[in-house]
Amino acid sequence: MSQFPDSTLAEQNLQMSKKSVLELRNVNIFYSDNQAVNDVSFNIRRNKITAIIGPSGCGKSTLLRSLNRMNDFVDGARVEGELIFGNENLYGKEVDAVEVRRRIGMVFQKPNPFPKSIYNNISWGPLINGFNGSTDELVERSLKQAALWEEVKDRLHESALNLSGGQQQRLCIARALAMEPEVLLMDEPCSALDPISTARIEDLLFELKSSYTIVIVTHNMQQAARISDYTAFMEMGDLIEFNVTKKIFTRPAMKRTEEYVTGRFG
């Protein structure tokens, strides 16, 4: 069951619904008969970074993927409960999953640029979605937002695969930004990167949150601590605690959270 300790509610002290982009209400996710996520409810605040942490296999990625219906591609995955996004349930019958993914972007664990030029990596998504403005501008703007423009502006037409891992990951972020998504989902976006690249991307996320809402899954508690505003701690499919990040790392409300963040688990 999800747990909202009083202290959290007190601190938030705002009309959630106005500040929330996505609301999860009693979300259950199954793989065939196995339940991977149990009755999770929380809200994702606009222009904030929300981190999801928890031990391996606790359902972080499963939950994240449910937020833009990437679970549709997993055989046997089934989502129950409500995920409210702009007054609609993401899993409503009428809802077009392709449109959902356009509006809720995603960046993955391993940088996965298309084996095309940097330019095409960015312009492809908008183009297939009917973009007919100036792609040059779009590419420049997205790369600037992703703090990559200076490094690549002279080789936009070279293969994206020539970039370093950290640059590739920023390219993937730029690619997602080019779609102007409302929410950006990230599943361990730095775990394949060295610390310098990681620091760059963390700085970038910090910049981006003024215009985007970001949800990030991370194994790296320090990272969650460093960059997020809110943290959800999950264990075995349950949401144990959802709280302001500072709280989670200085005085979590739940004993299990404390045990996890201090490294006393298992």
Binding site: Q222, A225, F249, T250, R251, P252, V261, T262, G263, F265
Partner: protein, 218 residues
């Protein structure tokens, strides 16, 4: 969790306790020296104070090491921060014990004057109890005990105020005793400060357990 961190935290805890024991014994010795005019106890306090200083530096370095090497969070982090502060407080208690011992040495040279019985018996007992209880609360993470310590502080303050009245009275009546009176007042103040520091420790324990800062709550 990392065994390494666990081990280091255990070690730190032990060191803090050891420091606490040293400080307690310095205070006891100082008070004994004061009440019983025992020079050897003064020396013992001065010797202890040196060790306390060394210990304090070591503990601070260890805290720094743990912070740098293990980057603890939540409860562990609070424990380290509290340790840093308790460490500081204990060292200052040591300082005060030294000061009391010094005053005791001065007073030994003079004729004793009669003073408040609370000062001779109750105050030292109170302070010793506070010190011991605050350390106990730290070890056992016993919030109740910590609150008791905090409550005791009022009594200490009261005795200290009474001492001030008494001492000024003595000095006025017998100006030749002014130095002794002031020295006695100082020892009383030192004990009151030790009580305050015990209160600090108790407050830190509450902070550590409950995560709430209460020291300016009153």
């Amino acid at each position: 969790m990392s065994l390494h961190l666990q081990r280091d935290l255990e070690k730190l805890k032990k060191e803090i306790l050891k420091l606490g024991t040293m400080v307690e014994s310095a205070i006891n010795n100082a008070i004994f020296a004061l009440n019983n005019r025992e020079m050897s106890y003064v020396d013992e306090v001065l010797r202890l104070e040196d060790h306390i200083n060394e210990m304090e530096v070591k503990i601070e370095e260890d805290c720094l090491k743990i912070l740098a090497l293990h980057q603890p969070v939540a409860g562990d982090l609070r424990f380290i921060v509290v340790s840093l502060k308790v460490n500081n407080d204990l060292e200052r208690m040591g300082d005060f014990a030294k000061n009391i011992a010094k005053r005791a040495r001065e007073l030994m040279q003079e004729e004793p004057i009669s003073t408040l019985p609370e000062f001779v018996n109750e105050l030292p007992n109170l302070v010793r109890t506070m010190v011991r209880n605050s350390l106990d609360a730290l070890v056992k993470l016993d919030v109740g005990l910590a609150r008791e310590v905090i409550a005791m502080d009022d009594k200490v303050d009261e005795i200290n105020r009474a001492m001030y009245q008494e001492v000024t009275r003595v000095a006025k009546e017998n100006p030749s005793k002014t130095e002794i009176a002031i020295s006695l007042l100082s020892t009383s103040r030192y004990m009151e400060r030790i009580g305050d520091l015990s209160t600090n420790i108790a407050e830190d324990v509450i902070f550590m357990v409950e995560g709430r800062v209460i020291r300016h709550d009153d």
